[in-house]
């Protein structure tokens, strides 16, 4: 008698993802939905989607969701969580949302120790708007606003926001993972689980930065895109635990 080892998560609506073939968002959505289900928090969850490819995340996550202006997710999440402290509030944001336009809101939510969970999808490019440079675009990486490659003198270097957040007093758990292989995907799920548990324990601000492939805007095949994540992105954005106030919490 065969046992099904893998099935559609309860907290993912039965909708077909509009994301590109090989897009990391699809994988991450699935992981987040599985974690919400396994932790039994679906009825308490309120999510804040970004502006970006995942702007329609509420078409997929079967939890209450409230749209925020671009970059303001951490501030909107702060408002929700302060009014309803026993609910589980998370944001799902890209590199522009968190590390460009929303940098101030993200840093200050972390500094105040807002008890929310930020899911930071880092694919090193602005996907929805057609592939412009992101704060996390690598030096030399092509984008539509860095033809010829990102130039450190003109554009500055990529921003390690997670390391900056690790310094913030109110950060309780900051980890960087990837969705580039079954191994890193399984680890990302563990990190997301821990991030939500940190919130449930009221320990402070939790964030998981997930290096994610964007085959379309990187102009790579999906298989080559995950290789790029593993071989190039991790050299500048190493996969590691940046801060953990609860090392025994799994």
């Amino acid at each position: 008698m065969a046992t099904k080892v893998f099935e559609w998560p309860r907290y993912l609506k039965k909708a077909v993802f509009h994301y590109c073939p090989g897009c990391g968002h699809s994988i991450i959505h699935r992981l987040v939905a599985e974690v919400i289900d396994e932790l039994g928090i679906g009825e308490r969850c309120i999510g804040v989607p970004p502006a970006g490819c995942a702007v329609l995340a509420y078409n997929y996550f079967d939890v209450d969701m409230g749209e925020a202006p671009h970059g303001r997710g951490a501030a909107v999440a702060t408002g929700i969580k302060r009014v309803l402290p026993d609910r589980i509030v998370f944001t799902y944001q890209g590199d522009g949302d968190i590390a460009a336009i929303g940098t101030a809101e993200t840093i200050h939510a972390a500094n105040r120790g807002e008890n929310v969970t930020v899911i930071f999808v880092n694919n090193g490019v602005y996907g929805m708007t057609g592939g412009q440079m992101a704060p996390t675009t690598l030096i030399g990486q092509n984008s539509t606003t860095t033809p010829g490659g990102r130039d450190i003198r003109r554009d500055g270097a990529p921003l390690n926001l997670s390391e900056m957040l690790g310094i913030a007093n109110g950060s309780a758990y900051i980890e960087r993972t990837a969705v580039s292989s079954p191994k890193t995907i399984r680890h990302t799920k563990k990190a997301l689980t821990k991030a939500f548990k940190v919130q449930m324990a009221g320990l402070g601000f939790s964030l998981v930065e997930i290096l994610s492939p964007c085959p379309t805007n990187w102009k790579l095949s999906p298989v080559d895109a995950v290789k790029w994540v593993d071989e190039s992105m991790t050299r500048y954005f190493p996969l590691k635990v940046i801060k953990d106030l609860a090392p025994d919490l799994k």
Binding site: G42, E43, R44, C45, I46, V48, V55, L56, Y58, F61, D62, V63, D64, M65, G66, E67, A68, P69, R72, A75, V76, A77, T78, G79, I80, K81, R82, V83, L84, R87, I88, A104, E105, H108, R112
Partner: protein, 353 residues
């Protein structure tokens, strides 16, 4: 009680349980009052946000979660909130925004002015929306209007702005407050995001990619604004029944105008005051009705002329509209305005009628 404190106390009694703000002169007394007031409440939240921009976004979140939420600032800080106000209107969220106007544009100064009328009533944020704008002119009115602001916000699911200036904020006047609202008696909000327990999950959003859907939503908002326009316009009429010249002014400018008008009446000039209390919806009906016997209106603003456009628009040529204004934080004296009224009155031969 000081004007800015009146707003704070009235807000608390109106059920405000979330405040986010950023310091800016001349409204810091309100932010500081809310810090104390929210801390004294078991279910109150005060956040000194990192910017006015962050503050309005926290209010968005608080409103989504069902709280009566407020933020406040002064002119340049209110500029930062415009994106948030557009979203509040688009997502049909209730919230109260207090603007204590100061001299501008740009960094300007900290003196009282009325230079943000356009910003308040014409959007300021992007898109086809309106904000209810209430303009108090006394301490008591601050208390009454603040209560109304929260009620309108919830009733119509729309942002409401209280437009004051530094003078109103600093005024000390006696005030009678209404009894504090029992939050449990407020009507439930069946649209908030509080976790999908025992019900389908909800979405609050304003992204509508299909243009016909977005168009429908825009017309739906228009119908709401039309309802508001039918139900809440308000204005004070002072000595207008036999007036040949009516001054139109709001807020502090109206207080000065009253002083000038008293002086004019003392020497026999038939001058009155129309004081809009709702700047949006503008009290057009009262204005148009008054134009049946009032041939001349003098709009007096502490600006280079913003509300005067609404007066002209509302009258549609029925009467003559004149303007007198002092921008930059200059506050006229009643004497100064009296001279202006007197000159205009005689130039138009109104003493002959």
């Amino acid at each position: 009680m000081r004007g800015s404190h009146v707003i704070g106390e009235a807000a608390v009694r109106a059920g405000c349980r979330f405040y986010a703000g950023y310091p800016i002169t001349p409204q810091n007394e309100l932010t500081e009052y809310m810090a104390g007031a929210m801390a004294r409440l078991e279910d109150g939240t005060f956040i000194q946000a990192e910017s006015e921009l962050a503050a309005v976004n926290m209010v968005i979140g608080a409103a989504m979660a069902g709280a009566r939420a407020m933020t406040s600032s002064s002119s340049p800080g209110v500029s930062l909130k415009q994106e948030g106000i557009s979203y509040l209107a688009a997502q049909e969220l209730p919230a109260v925004i207090v603007n204590t106007m100061r001299g501008g544009p740009g960094l300007g100064n900290i003196a009282p002015s009325q230079g943000d009328y356009f910003q308040a009533t014409r959007g300021g944020g992007h898109g086809d929306y309106r904000t209810i704008v209430l303009a108090p002119a006394s301490g008591q009115e601050l208390a009454d209007i603040t209560r109304k602001a929260f009620d309108y916000a919830d009733t119509y699911r729309t942002p409401v702005m209280i437009l004051g200036d530094g003078m109103i904020g600093q005024m000390m006047e006696p005030v009678v407050f209404p009894e504090p609202l029992d939050l449990k008696k407020l009507p439930p909000k069946p649209w908030i995001l509080d976790g999908a327990k025992g019900r389908p999950s909800r979405i609050i959003r304003s992204l509508l990619l299909d243009v016909s859907v977005e168009e429908d939503q825009n017309w739906k908002l228009v119908r709401k604004y039309e309802q508001i326009t039918r139900e809440i316009p308000a204005a004070e009429k002072y000595l207008t029944d036999d007036a040949r010249l009516v001054v139109v002014a709001y807020g502090t400018a109206a207080r000065i105008a009253k002083g000038a008008i008293k002086r004019m009446r003392d020497i026999g000039l038939k001058v009155g005051l129309l004081r809009p209390i709702t700047l949006w919806p503008f009290p057009n009906r009262i204005l148009v009705e008054m134009s049946r016997w009032v041939r001349h209106f003098l709009v007096y603003e502490m600006s280079t002329g913003q509300m005067v456009e609404d007066v002209r628009l509302g009258l549609e040529g029925r009467s003559q509209v004149h303007f007198y204004g002092r921008p930059g934080g200059v506050v006229s004296t009643p004497e100064e305005l009296s001279k202006v009224i007197n000159t205009l009155y005689h130039r138009q031969n109104l003493q002959e009628e």
